[in-house]
């Protein structure tokens, strides 16, 4: 086996390191490209205590998204969820904050309703939300209950404790007492009648016995007996009548309470109120119905709008970026400038067009082969045009955190690889181009750091395996505008008014 060159060995080593790093970062997957795709749902919680950004959102224990932001709105916690685009969530879903594992990490569980309901659209709000049911909230609920009980007993105490209450209680007791007394009286007054009834009944039974004893007696005597009996029954009925009239009189004293005018008025009022309520409910139903009807209309408008939105969004992903970067080359002390246009039809694909002003100029190489006196000499003429601009045209495709580029690099063929870190704030790239068999190809390594929009700083090594002494360390900066930014800037420029 041939011995590896130093460069190959180091290259191999670095590549292994990067592969392991990429593998681990994809496996842990918290910085991967995936998270950009998905849609947003809003939910309000009374308390988002313990909830953090980037915690999972689960349905039936399966992660379907993550919490994007938590903020305060109108005294409630507004939690924005980012749901994977392939997960559909129905409108009657319920969001619950739950606790996971022994470490007590919070996460959000979505419980789908049983009914078949329409799916949520991006930006919709989950209406049914219940905050964490941990000990704290449990205690809070118990406290509320205790307060209510307290209130209840307090009002009871008011009712019973006041002079009015005492008075009304007294009347209640007096009424009860009166009623019992009249009942007693009634029973006592009818006592003789009752004894009479009983003795009559006993007579009647004796006579019946006599009848049965004198089996052979005349039918007449039976009839007369019946007659007598009926007379005695008449007497009994009048006795009962007497009791009922007496009872009626007693009832009268109870009825007095009901028949008083005030009570009647009260009752009337009550009935009027009831009628009112029903009327109100009736008219209320009407408005609810109306509301429902309007909701449907709004829904219809919504669907139309979202359709239009979808269409616009597709157009919106088509982005154009205008970019300038300057690199200060320490080797020559010159600035190399790039003006570039990036057309991005899709999130993961773009076309890059560059105009490069290289202080080292543009080499045009001509080999002239001369034959003088049978000896062939090859002369190479390298003309360096200092003002010459170079052009790049590249196509780029991105997979997760790694991007590949290919095409024209500074007017020569080449390839490039980019690795994105920290939410695309940091990009490491390696470019290889200018594959001339007579000299080492041009290798460029750079790191672009974008601390915030528009502006980025860059540093790296240019042409670092050059065998012509062109290797140079560089630092630089650049500005980057998207078409949107340009639009905003243009619209914010005050125009002269006539």
């Amino acid at each position: 086996m041939a011995k590896l060159s130093v460069e190959a060995k180091v290259g191999f080593f670095v590549i292994i390191g990067i592969i392991i790093l990429s593998y681990m970062s994809m496996k842990l997957g918290k910085l991967s490209f995936k998270r950009d795709s998905g849609y947003i749902l809003k939910v309000f919680f009374d308390s988002a205590s313990g909830l953090a950004e980037d915690v999972p959102v689960e349905i039936a224990g399966v992660e379907v998204g993550r919490v994007q932001t938590i903020s305060l709105m109108n005294g409630k916690a507004l939690v924005i969820l980012k749901i994977n685009s392939d997960t559909k969530i129905s409108k009657n879903v319920k969001a619950i904050i739950r606790t996971k594992g022994i470490l007590g990490d919070k996460y959000i569980e979505l419980v789908q309703g049983t009914e078949q309901a329409p799916f949520m659209k991006p930006g919709d709000q989950i209406l049914n939300a219940s905050p964490a049911t941990d000990i704290d909230t449990l205690m809070k609920v118990l406290e509320e209950v205790a307060i209510n009980i307290n209130k209840l007993t307090g009002s009871f105490a008011n009712v019973m404790g006041g002079e009015e209450g005492e008075a009304s209680l007294r009347t209640i007791f007096e009424n009860v007492k009166e009623m019992v007394e009249t009942l007693n009286l009634t029973v006592q007054k009818n006592n003789t009648n009752v004894t009479q009834i009983i003795s009559n009944l006993s007579d009647f039974s004796k006579k019946l016995k006599n009848i049965s004893d004198t089996h052979s007696d005349d039918i007449r005597s039976i009839i007369t007996n019946i007659h007598g009996a009926s007379e005695e029954i008449e007497q009994l009925i009048s006795g009962i009548n007497k009791i009922t009239t007496k009872l009626n009189q007693g009832k009268g004293s109870l009825g007095k309470l009901i028949n008083e005018e005030e009570t009647v008025n009260n009752l009337n009022d009550m009935l009027a109120d009831l009628k009112n309520i029903t009327e109100k409910i009736n008219s209320g139903k009407g408005t609810i119905g109306k509301l429902i009807k309007e909701d449907e209309t709004a829904d219809r408008i919504n669907t139309t709008l979202s359709g239009i939105n979808d269409y616009i969004r597709k157009q919106e992903t088509f982005r154009t970026y205008l970019n300038y970067r300057g690199e200060y080359l320490f080797n020559s002390g010159d600035v190399k400038s790039y003006l570039s246009l990036r057309i991005q039809p899709k999130e993961d694909k773009y076309y890059l067009f560059n105009v490069v002003d290289d202080p080292r100029g543009k080499d045009s190489i001509t080999d002239i082969t001369r034959t003088i006196n049978d000896s062939t000499t090859t002369e190479r003429i390298v003309e360096t045009e200092r003002d010459g601009l170079k052009f790049s045209a590249q196509i780029a495709k991105r997979y997760y955190d790694i991007g590949f580029r290919g095409g024209l690099f500074e007017s020569t063929g080449g390839i490039g690889i980019d690795y994105y870190f920290f939410d695309d704030h940091l990009m490491l790239s390696m470019e290889a181009f200018d594959f001339d068999p007579d000299r080492n190809f041009h290798l460029k390594f750079k790191a672009d750091y974008t601390p915030f929009n528009y502006i980025y700083i860059t540093s790296g090594l240019d042409d670092f395996i050059s065998d012509e002494g062109n290797e140079s360390f560089f630092i630089g900066a650049g500005i980057n505008f998207s078409d949107e930014d340009i639009k905003t800037i243009l619209s914010n420029i005050p125009l002269p008014t006539n």
Binding site: F13, V14, G17, G29, F330, N331, S472
Partner: protein
């Protein structure tokens, strides 16, 4: 008594002076990075020495520390039935602490000491003076490439060490201790953030800077022949290790 204060005072001033010299050396090495020529080949050579050639050592130490960690945490967690957390524990300790620190200590022993010895020998045999006479800055030619190579290669060695340590932990946890492999992996994914790995790597780059700077400093200011070289080598290892462990605390406190 006065002598005591005199002694401590002198000692303190000499420590501060030495620290200042190290910082000046670092500053000039840093500045030389931006002056031409850019010594790509020398840097690559140092990258090979510090990085690629240290892989075997890192693989062995990384794998066994991962395995031992898995074994120890397994016995610990088994007491309350938390065996499933072995993977996450091994991964967190490897990526946050053990990977960066052990790698830095191993490279200190292997490459940091070699830097001190090599530069020290060059100093006592006038090779450094020879560089000066040839209008070549020894700081640019000898020190800058070593510091740069160490700062760049340590993170790569560390990620290899992290990975092989986790593999070792997996081997012990899943193959020997029969923890369910799915649970082992899912707990790792659940508890380990990418930030844990990246912070570990940033730490390791700092350690690379420290060990190479101290190794080069000790070598560059070597005095007194072969014995001086020996002393410089030993001191570089001791000082680098101490500085790495101390700075580890502060870096950890600052980052996590």
């Amino acid at each position: 008594m006065i002598r005591f204060f005199e002694f401590t005072g002198k000692k303190f001033i000499s420590i501060v002076e030495e620290f200042g010299k190290v910082m000046l050396l670092f500053l000039s090495a840093f500045l030389w990075m931006f002056r031409k020529p850019f010594r790509f080949r020398v840097i690559i050579k140092q990258m090979e020495f510090v990085g690629a050639d240290s892989v075997s050592v890192i693989l062995i130490t990384g794998a066994f520390t991962g395995m031992v960690l898995a074994l120890q945490t397994y016995y610990g967690f088994r007491m309350f039935g938390g065996e499933s957390l072995v993977g996450a524990t091994v991964t967190l300790s490897m990526t946050r602490e053990i990977g960066p620190v052990f790698t830095a200590l191993m490279v200190t022993g292997r490459a940091g000491s070699a830097m001190a010895a090599e530069i020290g020998t060059m100093r006592v045999t006038e090779q450094i003076d020879a560089l000066y006479t040839m209008s070549v800055s020894p700081i640019q030619y000898l020190i800058m490439p070593r510091i740069l190579a160490a700062a760049l290669m340590l993170p790569i060695l560390t990620i290899i060490s992290d990975f092989i340590g986790i593999v070792g932990g997996y081997l012990v946890g899943v193959e020997f201790m029969k923890i369910n492999s799915g649970i082992f992996m899912s707990k790792i994914i659940e508890f380990v953030d990418l930030a844990d790995i990246f912070n570990g790597l940033i730490k390791s780059a700092c350690f690379g800077l420290i060990l190479s700077l101290i190794g080069c400093y000790k070598g560059f200011y070597t005095k007194g022949g072969a014995a001086g070289v020996g002393k410089a080598t030993t001191q570089s290892v001791v000082y680098s290790s101490i500085t790495i462990l101390i700075s580890d605390y502060f870096l950890t406190a600052a980052m996590f």
